[in-house]
Subunit: 64 residues, 2 copies
DNA sequence: TTATAATGTAATATATAATTAACATTTTGT
DNA sequence: ACAAAATGTTAATTATATATTACATTATAA
């Protein structure tokens, strides 16, 4: 699940720091979201999705 | 945007309090999210979506 | 109308997301 | 191998989502 975000980021040719800057977050926050089971805010999720050209479902949804 | 959640909830025949209980939140939190006065956590968004039979995009995504 | 359920809303308290700073480790390029 | 960039990770602090309590207002049904 986390790797979907990392994959989308790398496909865009962005570092964690670059993505963080573009969504007004810190590198550490991006790293934690990509890695462990962080629980980010909806607004941050939306900003990340917009920046990576994906939707919320693309990055954060798991079919149950 | 906020009304999408309210609409989905009413379609399911649930009150704010009932939905809140099922997603381990409070009635007030649900009410504020419906009024889009809050920035809920991803986990809560996912719980709400699952409970209402919708996806994240269905409830929280706006095409930009 | 009257009672009751549902929702709105505000104050304070608590849990945790997110920041900041710092240093360690890994990766990448030369 | 070496240096630089990228990422990992931890501790302390700040910002804010969420809970709790309480009361007000609006809907719904008898």
């Amino acid at each position: 699940m986390a790797n979907k975000i990392k994959l989308a980021r790398v496909e865009k040719g962005l570092t964690q720091a670059q993505l963080a800057q573009r969504v007004n977050a810190t590198r550490q926050t991006i790293g934690l979201i990509e890695k462990s089971k962080y629980n980010p805010s909806l607004n941050l999720c939306i900003a990340i999705a917009n920046e990576l050209g994906k939707s919320l479902d693309d990055l954060f949804w798991e079919e149950s």
